[in-house]
């Protein structure tokens, strides 16, 4: 009886070890595959849409960088917005920084073509993205540098408060005490 239990226990342990080995092998293969895709994107090669489906945020981040290099800013921003809260804290900081870079690059291009309003809006978005990246990682030197670039492009001003000035009196609107109607009675 004890011998049989011992045999079954060892068999079960062996099956569990083999299951873990298979699962680890599958994960290892998937990671190797994702790293291969990242390398491919870094080399400037486009991926098929089915290769991106359900893939890890790192691959989408690499694709966003690829899209930005091709001046496809809107697609890059959409790709980065999808993964903004995914991955580790470091990964989230990188995503926000790269998103800030996408906004800032587009803002600079628009400013050069004298589309100032659009450029200002994008520079404001870039500043927000860099600030978020720095909140996540205060030692992110590239984000510090580029936030300063964005701030030079679109400086921030404190609101000037005029405490001593008298407040402008509000013009009181005349209110009807009663609902106006037709005049009643005649002499």
């Amino acid at each position: 009886m004890i011998k049989a239990i011992r045999h079954y226990t060892v068999w079960l342990a062996l099956l569990a070890a083999l299951a873990i080995a298979l699962q680890s092998m599958y994960s290892f293969y998937q990671i190797a595959n994702s790293n291969q895709l990242i390398t491919q994107l870094n080399q400037g090669k486009e991926l098929k849409s089915e290769q991106l489906k359900g893939n890890v945020p790192e691959v989408k981040l690499a694709r966003a960088t690829y899209l930005k290099k091709k001046h496809r800013y809107k697609e890059a921003q959409a790709s980065l917005s999808q993964i903004i809260n995914q991955g580790s804290q470091k990964m989230q900081a990188i995503t926000r920084y790269n998103l800030g870079n996408t906004y800032l690059t587009e803002a600079v291009e628009l400013a050069e073509s004298m589309q100032i309003n659009e450029a200002s809006a994008l520079a404001a978005l870039a500043k927000q993205a860099y600030r978020q990246a720095l909140v996540l990682d205060s030692h992110y030197w590239d984000a510090k540098y580029n936030l300063e670039v964005a701030m030079r492009l679109l400086p921030e001003m404190d609101r000037i408060t005029m405490e001593k000035d008298d407040p402008i009196p509000e013009k009181k609107a005349k209110l009807w005490a009663t609902v106006p109607g037709f005049p009643r009675g005649l002499p």
Partner: protein
């Protein structure tokens, strides 16, 4: 008389001075700040406030600054309050983590705003002011860099990090090694590791017995005795079988056959009326076969 009055006056003076120090609501208050220079965009500034307060004096959390934007260029990212009980009352350690987002054109003096901490006891409020703190911030880049200068206008994108597969690789190695060890153990349990010396004791004798003729009982007995002695590590006699079973409990089911074997051997070697029998040789062969099965874990 005047001496007594003077003595009472001094005692009273002493008591009043003592009672004053005992009634101090906050016995220690210190604001610890880091270096006041060399900060750049995005740097964190940690401020620590140490307070020793008497028992029952509760810090009002509402008097602390709230997390978030303090002003246009300053964020309060974290507040950590540690409260420990001491003999006199409570020891507070308040850690504030600010972060600056100011882009000065040259080195500029900035200010962390002060605030007032409130403590409450028996409906009374005691206030303690944390003073504002000044520090200097510096720019990271030159003012006049332009895009068309050919210099670095902005820092490039951070490349996507490669995924780390060390954990998966380690898990794979450990699980494969475990599977290998377990498979080897199972093979040992099922007696499949026939190359081990443990499984070689009855293998060769059985082969020799198969080659012997049925009439050669002496040789058969000798071969079987030799195999049993090898297993036992020393010569095995019939009266030692109980000890043998204690050391090799797997052979206990063969007790009847082993007893028969020793009786047969005694009769053959020491009795004058011994004669070879074909059945006896076959029985010895069967006994050796059973021993081989036991040594390989098949029985």
């Amino acid at each position: 008389m005047w001496f007594n009055s003077l003595f009472i006056f001094f005692i009273g003076l002493l008591l009043s001075s003592c009672s004053g120090s005992i009634n101090q609501p906050i016995t220690f208050f210190e604001v610890q700040t880091p270096r006041p220079f060399g900060y750049v965009m995005g740097d964190e500034i940690k401020q620590r406030i140490i307070i020793d307060a008497r028992d029952g004096l509760a810090l009002q959390a509402s008097s602390m600054p709230s997390i978030g934007e303090v002003n246009r260029w300053l964020n309060l990212n974290m507040i950590n309050i540690e409260k420990t009980k001491t003999q006199q009352g409570f020891h507070y350690q308040i850690d504030l983590t600010y972060q600056i987002f100011y882009a000065p054109l040259a080195v500029k003096m900035l200010e962390l705003p002060g605030f007032t901490l409130q403590f409450r006891q028996f409906g009374n409020t005691i206030e303690k002011k944390v003073p504002s703190w000044h520090f200097t911030a510096a720019p990271l880049r030159e003012l006049a860099i332009r895009k068309d200068d050919g210099k670095e206008y902005m820092r490039p994108d951070t490349p996507a990090p490669f995924l780390d597969n060390t954990r998966q690789l380690n898990r794979l190695i450990v699980s494969l090694l475990s599977a290998l060890i377990l498979a080897a153990y199972l093979a040992w349990l099922y007696g499949l590791l026939t190359f081990l010396p443990k499984y070689q004791i009855f293998k060769s004798p059985l082969r020799k017995l198969a080659k012997l003729s049925a009439d050669d009982l002496t040789a058969s007995l000798n071969i079987m005795h030799k195999a049993l002695n090898q297993l036992n590590g020393k010569p095995l006699f019939q009266h030692q079988l109980a000890g043998f079973y204690q050391r090799f409990p797997n052979y206990q089911p063969l007790h009847e056959k082993l007893t028969w074997f020793f009786n047969c051997s005694n009769q053959h070697f020491f009795s004058s009326a011994s004669r070879a029998n074909k059945d006896e040789s076959e029985k010895i062969k069967a006994l050796c076969q059973h021993c081989l099965q036991i040594e390989r874990g098949k029985r």
